[in-house]
């Protein structure tokens, strides 16, 4: 524990936190984007942004949490930009099936499809992102609204819709009436 705390103040904190915590960032971004390449790009963007802004980091949150948040925002932004580019041609369903080309993404894509393949797939992008940011990441409603460029009421309604859909899905899984 002491080693962990001491390492915090060393100049190589970025390298250390990358080694230790990048898996968490990557998985969080993967859930948001549902695309291994976008998730990898989001983490890289976050690392570089955090590095550039490291003088602004005042230690009020853990470095890990700070980068985690930047990565999630990058993931949301990348997802939005890709959807904007593709929206004339693709709806949500075909967006989810967009091909990925890098070999390293195939395993992650397959694993993501396996793990995320049931209830959350029934949600729209907005509903899924709101649910993940609130229930898993613990963001405040106003933070989600700002990041997703919507209103707090919009976030609440998306959250409630997501919850209702997830409850229905879980009823089906478990054979409940």
């Amino acid at each position: 524990m002491l080693t962990l705390l001491k390492s915090w103040v060393r100049p190589d904190a970025f390298q250390a936190v990358l080694t230790e915590r990048s898996g968490r960032w990557y998985n969080a971004c993967l859930r948001i984007t549902r695309d291994a390449d976008l998730a990898a790009d989001a983490v890289q963007d976050a690392l570089l942004k955090a590095w550039d802004r490291r003088d602004d980091f005042r230690g009020e949150a853990a470095l890990d949490s700070w980068i985690h948040r930047i990565a999630l925002n990058a993931a949301i932004d990348l997802t939005r930009r890709r959807k904007t580019r593709a929206e004339d041609e693709l709806d949500d369903d075909s967006f989810e099936a967009a091909p990925t080309t890098s070999p390293e993404s195939e395993y992650a894509q397959e694993a993501l499809g396996r793990d995320l393949g049931v209830a959350l797939q029934r949600l729209s992008n907005m509903e899924r992102q709101v649910f993940l940011l609130k229930h898993i990441e613990g963001w405040r409603l106003d933070e989600i609204a700002e990041s997703l460029q919507t209103t707090i009421n919009g976030v609440k309604h998306a959250l409630f819709r997501a919850v209702r859909k997830l409850r229905v899905e879980l009823h089906v899984w478990r054979g409940e009436s």
Binding site: F14, L18, L116, V163
Partner: protein, 234 residues
């Protein structure tokens, strides 16, 4: 009648004003059925959100490392400054409580998670377990640091910091449940009201922490006894 939507916002500690929050809190205290409904709802959502971690592909990890090294080579890293300050009594007490929780949680963790011999079949599971344990260590270390830094915070900042700790606690409690460690999840969740009282500056912090510590020690003793049993000595 309290809707599921309102129950959920209550659980998230977000989206309600103080009066509404108090009304729902009082109703939950008076109506066990309502509390069961909330717990059932949260359990269903936790199940829906349960997603095992995917390992980062090696090439991706190398790409990040290279990008960071390139950026670092452009500008020299300056060492971070450690703030120095005197801690008031309640701060020192909160930090000590965090240390106690960390020590006790790790005391709980060890007997609960005997290490299996790695095999190809268990490799992925071991990676996930390792990531989870590492994450927990980081979270607890981070919690300790945040508590120590509360001294310099304004009441608003303090509330925000504590809120962040509570949110993270909830995430790790969820991870603990997924890892089959409901006791650890409960310990993490039990820390929440203590943190809330620290944030509010209420006078019962010491008693709450003592109660929590006592409960942790009882649990630790119970788990140690379990660990000594043949089924836990693999």
């Amino acid at each position: 009648m309290i809707s599921d939507d309102d129950l959920l916002l209550y659980y998230y500690r977000d989206g309600h004003d103080a009066a509404e929050r108090a009304r729902i809190g009082a109703a939950l205290a008076e109506q066990p059925e309502l509390a069961r409904r909330l717990h059932g709802l949260v359990a269903r959502l936790d199940a829906a959100a349960a997603m095992p971690e995917v390992p980062v592909p090696a090439q991706v990890q190398q790409r990040w490392q290279a990008a960071l090294e390139r950026a670092a080579s452009e500008r020299r890293v300056e060492p971070a400054r450690r703030p120095t300050f005197a801690q008031p009594r309640w701060q020192a007490f909160a930090a000590a409580a965090a240390v106690a929780v960390i020590a006790l949680v790790f005391g709980i963790q060890k007997p609960m998670t005997p290490k299996p011999v790695p095999t190809p079949e268990t490799g992925a599971a071991a990676t996930n377990t390792s990531a989870y344990e590492n994450g927990l260590k980081w979270h607890l270390a981070s919690t300790e640091r945040r508590l120590a830094s509360l001294n310099e915070a304004t009441p608003e900042e303090r509330a925000r910091l504590v809120e962040a700790i509570i949110s993270q606690n909830r995430i790790y409690a969820l991870a603990a449940e997924r890892a089959g460690e409901p006791q650890l999840a409960r310990v993490l969740r039990a820390f929440t009201p203590v943190l809330e009282s620290v944030a509010d500056g209420r006078g019962q912090t010491a008693g709450s922490v003592e109660q929590l510590s006592f409960e942790l020690r009882v649990m630790q003793a119970r788990l140690k006894a379990d660990a000594a049993a043949p089924s836990h000595t693999l």
